[in-house]
Symmetry: C2
Subunit: 406 residues, 2 copies
Amino acid sequence: RINGERLWSSLMELAQIGATAKGGVKRLALTDLDKQGRDLVVSWGKQAGMSITIDQIGNVFMRRAGRNSALPPVMSGSHIDTQPTGGKFDGNYGVLAALEVVRTLNDHHIETEAPIEVAFWTNEEGSRFVPVMMGSGVFCGAFTLETAYAAKDTEGKTVGDELERIGYKGTEVPGQHPIGAYFETHIEQGPVLEDADKVIGVVPGVLGLSWYDCVVTGMEAHAGPTPMGLRKDALQVATGIMQEVVNIGNRYPPYGRGTVGMVQVFPNSRNVIPGEVKFSIDLRNVSSELLDTMHQEILAFVEQTSNNSGLHISVERVSYYPPCPFHSDCVDAVRNATATLGCSTMDVVSGAGHDAIYTARLAPSGMIFVPCKDGISHNEIEDAKPEHLAAGCNVLLHAMLAKAQR
Amino acid sequence: RINGERLWSSLMELAQIGATAKGGVKRLALTDLDKQGRDLVVSWGKQAGMSITIDQIGNVFMRRAGRNSALPPVMSGSHIDTQPTGGKFDGNYGVLAALEVVRTLNDHHIETEAPIEVAFWTNEEGSRFVPVMMGSGVFCGAFTLETAYAAKDTEGKTVGDELERIGYKGTEVPGQHPIGAYFETHIEQGPVLEDADKVIGVVPGVLGLSWYDCVVTGMEAHAGPTPMGLRKDALQVATGIMQEVVNIGNRYPPYGRGTVGMVQVFPNSRNVIPGEVKFSIDLRNVSSELLDTMHQEILAFVEQTSNNSGLHISVERVSYYPPCPFHSDCVDAVRNATATLGCSTMDVVSGAGHDAIYTARLAPSGMIFVPCKDGISHNEIEDAKPEHLAAGCNVLLHAMLAKAQR
Ligand SMILES: NC(=O)NCCC(=O)O
Ligand SMILES: NC(=O)NCCC(=O)O
């Protein structure tokens, strides 16, 4: 069993770096605060006897030797960067749970056949630099190191320069680092576990995701003198599409998701008929087939809406992550661990992307979810219970031990 | 007949004050530029032999004596302040057309029984200071001088101080100034005349107007991990109401109008289900009964939507102007003038509010519309044809002469 108090106090200590007045954390990727956070975690890793490797995109791997150093390590981790108004647990829990596993093995002088590694990946959040999940994305070859280095924040500072500045531009070529299996513990970021009153979510995979930008172009005109029949009201046309986005999500339960999160209306004046409306579309589902069906349906609906209204409508896909089923070896390892420990459990497909969807392209991967209060994350009021965090960490310990052969 | 070239060249000269690079005018109420514009128009008035009176809210009255100075004047005017990205014609045309009438009477040594007055009202646009139609509103007692004086711009400067500063805080008590009849020429600000290929709009009245602020409160949550059934999506609920606003406008032709012009979504992030949506509602119609029916329908729809969705929705009326039918004497004077002059004409109910809706509370009032290009106003590309502007001014001349008794 892991030491839940030690895990909790490490979480609280790390959360001091970038702590906000409202009880959250603001520790954006590659800032001075990120450097402080990284330094603290690395110092803990060294205290636990681990050796440190940093790759060229700043991913950090902390290694506890196994009996057989030729075997690829069983790895666990997540990220320590946060949203601008982020919480104490998102990402940080996954890293410190992995560290707690190593501390526990040390306490009990347990050797493993394969090495054990604790990883944290650069810029998972994507708040300061896009794309999201940058470190794991470069690691698995989803995009190049050059692309990542060139990414700029709003002040024009680049990832390459900022990595150099904070001293975390390592030398290892990303993706050269071997992985035998990868586990990631994370708060659920949704309400399902809490709603079902379960402690552990076994994560069979992650929903695929399509993001779009949609622009409806009408004709700006005065709301008073323009009769209804002579209008080209971009908002009236846009709201029809926004509703269909949600309808499409509803049409493919249980994993279909359809969300419009961002809307901009021009000129956005009380007595002017909107001339242009821009909005985002977020579609998700568990299989490529279902996600593709949803994709076709929104495109067809937009075309039909454009024909019916006579307004120009553009819809462009700006991101796509295919659904990511996790490897049965890892999913089973997690499931068996919950059985061994007697945890209350259910399967929860991850609705949000995580570094594990990228590691899954290179090695068997799996995830463990614990409940978070009201399903809230990416928010300073994000909260989780110490006993749930400890339970997730115990499941991680047993799953890793199963893969690393005690 | 008036002198169309003189009218046009005065319009172009006034439009130099605050001219924008895109061919429009930016001359916000009570700025230095407004002072320059006022000074120019007043100098023209003096050159035309008129005496000047300024009231405490800065409304300017320029008087051409009649044979019988005891008779209340036949007045015409509008405003010379503009929107931040305004055009050359909105308001300015109404003032300079009235001035052109006086210049024409002078050219032809025509005396009238009643005095003739040219008026311009303070801060009609409401862009720098709210409420709109401030000068005429104070004049007719819709709100107090104190309320108007206290209105602040975004820098905290008040109407009272700015009137003083530019030298247009007069001494006459607003509303004390007698009016026998009031006419206002204006660009239509809509597409109806152009669409029907007519030159003069006889304006039987102005639509009543109800403005509302609506706020839908849901629950902000991550778009990925939150199943459709566990969402409180404020935008999905809001779009239903937005569509009903337009439906209500369509349900009461030909004068019903329903517009949502302004929308704010919180937190407005691509992968966050909106937790709050604020938007404006603009309903208009020609009679109090119809406007009240529309008012009841939107309130009922909002209540039903709140009950069905379980989300809290507030809707608050923030402005109301009752429908304003113009006095038949004035409408007939305009109609007869178009007949005398042989203009192509039609009735066009004004969809937008004008100073004339306030003068109408004190004296018989009427309006004359001329077409504007593509119905566009409140825009730097606002445009109108010299021959249409001249035609409207001729109609004004004849209507005023009919009321002032040549
Ligand atoms: N974990 C997480 O918030 N990922 C962001 C990308 C997404 O919206 O799934
Ligand atoms: N003329 C004009 O634009 N008035 C503004 C108030 C309205 O929206 O009717």
